[in-house]
């Protein structure tokens, strides 16, 4: 029985896990879970991840959540090339540093854009106050500045000369606001160049495959019935009020 990955490609951490597994040709079975259809609330999924989040991993009887640990687990189990999660003390520390910072440093701010630009106005027909949007954009811009200036090494990747899981985790977060209509690459030559390096390292076809769902979100969310996803409303309201 192969390792199962439960993913919703709208979700950034699901995309990083997908990219890692597929790039390394790991023996995994991808099971798509639709958050918008409430599939995270089924009894079956609850057995895989009681916290009801994606991505989730099931390897025989062993189940876990949290994308970064999942990638580290797969890296160790399948002995992927060292550069993905280097064993060297200082190289590992640099990768860990980014992976830790990003939770609150960029993930939070990029995620907000998906909710504020797409889910709130299009699905829930809620207007986002101008000052809230401006504040969120300011936060996102600060994050992107730090990513560009502090974390991405000149001409290279976050951890150094080679790509690592830090770059996968970063790129998927950057693509979220981008797909929501924010041109994060405009005026950011260093960020754009890094993105191209990541796409090349991962393979253009795989990158496109991983991002096709989120990149068509602007249109696909129009099909969503807010009545079916009322459990998201409190979260949306909290964000915009």
């Amino acid at each position: 029985m192969s390792l199962e990955l439960f993913l919703d490609m709208l979700s950034q951490p699901c995309r990083s896990v997908f990219l890692f597994a597929k790039k390394n040709n790991l023996p995994v079975e991808v099971k798509l879970i639709s958050l918008m259809n409430g599939e995270q609330h089924t009894e079956e999924f609850g057995k895989v991840n009681p916290l009801r989040k994606v991505p989730a991993l099931k390897d025989g009887d062993f189940c876990m959540g949290e994308s970064i640990p999942m990638m580290e687990y797969m890296a160790e189990k399948f002995n992927t090339p060292d550069h993905w999660f280097p064993k060297d003390l200082q190289k590992r520390a640099r990768v860990n540093e980014y992976l830790s910072w990003q939770h609150l440093g960029i993930r939070m701010h990029g995620s907000k854009m998906f909710w504020m630009k797409l889910m709130a106005p299009v699905v829930f027909k809620l207007e986002v106050p101008e000052d809230k949007m401006a504040g969120a954009m300011e936060d996102l811009n600060s994050s992107l500045d730090l990513l560009e200036k502090t974390f991405i090494q000149d001409g290279g990747f976050i951890g150094g000369e080679q790509i690592s899981i830090a770059d996968l985790v970063a790129i998927v977060e950057v693509m979220q606001p981008f797909a929501s209509g924010v041109d994060v690459f405009e005026g950011r030559a260093k960020l754009s160049a890094w993105k191209e390096r990541v796409v090349q390292a991962v393979g253009k076809e795989l990158f496109v495959e991983a991002h096709k769902t989120i990149l068509s979100a602007k249109d696909s969310v129009k099909q969503l019935d807010s009545g079916k996803i009322e459990y998201f409303r409190p979260r949306v309201l909290k964000l915009i009020s």
Partner: protein
């Protein structure tokens, strides 16, 4: 090794505790957040991120407590239980350390900030619904800690203490320092706290938490200029 710390900060407490428990020699470099020292030029030369903790090991400078904790364990070849190398146990400890950023850490911090800084920054008491919503989030995180991460094990990953317990305890002490009693009515959590305290050592636990337990003194000690500097950021956070 130099550790730049303010023990008001949870991640600083975790790093401090582990370094002490592992008997790693270090120089404690105090960074006084209440006076805005982290925003000054001198600290900026250490770290542009302007956050604590920071570790400086020779020329190597590292931020982010979870990265620092793993580095210390790896470099000093600490006993395996602190950060187990076995595949499944490693996955479990990483799972906790990843989850906690936006859950227990975020919600515990929010309580601290609302109780200690909101009145100073906003000039009024915290609105009831805001506090209630924050408490609800904290409660949810504590429930998940108990029911998903601890379950009926002595420590988060099993029979022995690890970095996960140190990090979790540091986060819990933040709201506790402001007077929120998270332990009453939670026998599992209380028993776990007692085990962690015993493992780390009662004296050391007390030393690490001395500052946060006097959190209520913060408002008297906060420097007025620093307050003004930090106001825009906090006002945005609180609005």
């Amino acid at each position: 090794m130099e550790l730049y710390l303010d023990l008001f900060s949870q991640p600083c407490r975790a790093v401090f505790l582990l370094a002490k428990v592992l008997e790693i020699p270090f120089e404690f470099k105090y960074v006084n957040l209440a006076t805005g020292q982290h925003l000054g030029d001198e600290f900026g030369k250490i770290s542009m991120m302007r956050k604590v903790p920071v570790m400086k090991d020779g020329e190597f400078v590292l931020t982010e407590s979870t990265a620092i904790l793993e580095y210390m364990v790896q470099k000093h070849r600490a006993p395996d239980h602190w950060f187990p190398s076995e595949l499944l146990l490693r996955a479990r400890i990483n799972e906790y350390l990843s989850w906690q950023h936006t859950n227990l850490r975020a919600h515990g911090s929010k309580i601290f900030l609302l109780k200690m800084l909101f009145p100073l920054m906003m000039g009024c008491e915290v609105p009831k619904e805001k506090m209630d919503a924050a408490m609800e989030d904290l409660n949810m995180s504590l429930i998940q800690l108990e029911n998903y991460f601890l379950q009926n094990k002595p420590f988060i990953i099993g029979d022995k203490i690890s970095v996960a317990d140190i990090v979790a305890m540091a986060e819990i002490m933040q709201p506790v320092g402001t007077g929120v009693d998270v332990f009453t009515g939670r026998p599992t959590l209380s028993a776990w706290r007692d085990r962690v305290t015993a493992q780390v050592g009662v004296e050391l636990f007390k030393e690490a938490n001395e500052v946060i337990m006097k959190a209520k003194d913060l408002s008297q000690n906060i420097d007025k200029t620093a307050l003004e500097m930090m106001k825009p950021k906090f006002q945005k956070m609180f609005s």
